[in-house]
């Protein structure tokens, strides 16, 4: 129970800071709305129906917006040298990682809700008749995404290249999330049978388990001094 308490304490601390400063969520929120505007002008609606490519646009916006915010996970603590203080505490480092991942998952989930709402309004989307399945798809994909990006965010914060390194590290590994996320979402939007979505949900689940598991095991090697 102490382990879970540590995870909760770390997550709560990050979420409290975010609630008070609204630094990341404001930037991510503004970013996703503006990206929606730009995507509208990047599509020739005489040739392509936005509804047909909406799932792809949505997932790319989630990835780009997510990188923007999650890339700064360790920024505040690194700036003031506070992270060294965190490392001196006797908490398990994998619990620290899971706490940070949980906080990032909450933040990115809020931004994802905004993305679906905004794109639904901008492009007149229908989200299908299986909202809980859509929720499962999004949850698994986001969990895998934050698992990987939290780990690599800790790494990039400690390099001379900083946040500019994060997309190079993470993008090759996000291909399963994009493929299965877009596939499942487009089938749900199109009202296809759930049997066509089940495989994608399983693969996204495997992606999430792999990402978070690898992150928890390897985080200590990234942050040790």
């Amino acid at each position: 129970m102490d382990y879970l308490r540590v995870i909760w304490t770390v997550a709560r601390k990050d979420l409290l800071i975010e609630m008070r400063t609204r630094e990341r969520i404001a930037a991510m929120g503004a970013f996703v709305v503006l990206v929606g505007v730009l995507f509208n002008y990047s599509i020739d609606t005489a040739i392509v129906r936005p509804q047909e490519i909406a799932p792809g646009i949505i997932w790319m916006t989630i990835i780009l917006g997510g990188l923007l915010g999650i890339g700064r996970t360790f920024h505040l603590e690194e700036e003031d040298g506070a992270f060294s203080g965190v490392l001196q505490t006797p908490i398990p480092l994998d619990a620290l990682y899971l706490g940070k991942t949980a906080a990032n998952l909450v933040i990115l989930s809020l931004v994802t809700v905004l993305i679906f709402l905004v794109f639904g309004v901008f492009f007149g989307l229908s989200f299908g008749s299986h909202p809980f399945v859509l929720l499962a798809v999004v949850f698994h994909a986001l969990l895998g995404f934050v698992g990987l990006t939290t780990l690599f965010s800790a790494m990039s914060a400690r390099t001379t290249m900083g946040e500019s390194l994060l997309p190079v590290l993470v993008f090759p590994l996000l291909v399963p999330m994009v493929i299965f996320g877009v596939s499942a979402t487009s089938r749900l939007f199109a009202g296809r049978p759930l049997s066509e979505v089940a495989g994608s949900v399983r693969m996204l689940g495997a992606f999430a388990i792999l990402s978070v598991g690898a992150g928890a095991m390897l985080f200590r090697h990234v942050v040790e001094e």
Binding site: T159, L169, L173, V175, P176, I179, L210
Partner: protein, 234 residues
């Protein structure tokens, strides 16, 4: 010094690999029959496929050495991972160059979103990330740890990426060697492919051993330089 033995072995393997490459070229241009449906362009198969196998084999070595390095912190494992990564990147690049050449002739396009090509391109970028993080830190030991983490996460994710991209429809020729119902390759073609694989393996191992030796010597020089600076300071 053990490095001398490794270096000599590396040079010998590289020399054998070079001879093998000459033999392979002769076999490809003059001996092996032309494939009935894919035509003369198919002969690039004997360079393309062995390069692919070595690229993935090398990455496996990178991941294994990286994992054990994080556990034991033995510098030799880090050096082995680095040497394997450099060799693997060479063969990965060869595969990425020969693939589009074959695609251009066979399918009329330089690039298709064909699963194996995409997987190789992503693998190349994982290798690229490995070198990028390694050199992007002020503390070299930190760079080694970061590179090891990239190697391990890469190898865990590569099978998932493979399933993902293969799940989509593929233009790529279907497997003819590693098939559940056995080999479907002409015997002469199989022999040529095996010569290609042996050549690529010897070249990779030769490069690996030579690079490992160079890295050993480099670190020894760095250590002596640090030691003499400390002595002068004292």
């Amino acid at each position: 010094m053990p490095e001398n033995r490794l270096q000599r072995t590396g040079i010998a393997l590289a020399a054998l690999g070079t001879l093998g490459a000459v033999l392979l070229l002769w076999m490809v241009f003059f001996w092996v029959p032309t494939e009935r449906t894919l035509g003369i362009a198919q002969r690039i198969f004997y360079v393309h496929v062995p390069s692919a196998w070595i690229a993935f084999f090398a990455f496996g070595i990178v991941a294994l050495c990286s994992g054990v390095y994080l556990w034991l912190r033995d510098e030799r494992l880090d050096m082995a991972a680095l040497a394997a990564a450099e060799g693997g990147m060479v063969f990965c690049t060869i595969m990425l160059l020969t693939g589009p050449l074959w695609a251009r002739v066979s399918w009329g396009t330089w690039w298709t979103w064909e699963p194996r090509l995409v997987l190789t391109l992503l693998l190349w970028f994982v290798y690229f990330s490995y070198f990028l993080v390694r050199n992007a830190t002020e503390n070299p030991d930190q760079g080694k740890r970061f590179a090891a983490v990239v190697g391990i996460v890469g190898v865990l994710d590569i099978p998932l990426i493979h399933v993902s991209v293969t799940w989509m429809r593929s233009l790529h020729p279907q497997p003819v060697v590693l098939r559940p119902d056995g080999l479907s390759l002409d015997p002469d073609m199989f022999i040529t492919l095996m010569v290609g694989l042996a050549t690529a393996t010897m070249l990779f191992l030769g490069l690996f051993l030579m690079r490992y030796t160079v890295e050993c010597l480099k670190r020894e020089v760095d250590q002596r330089r640090t030691g003499s600076r400390a002595a002068q300071g004292a």
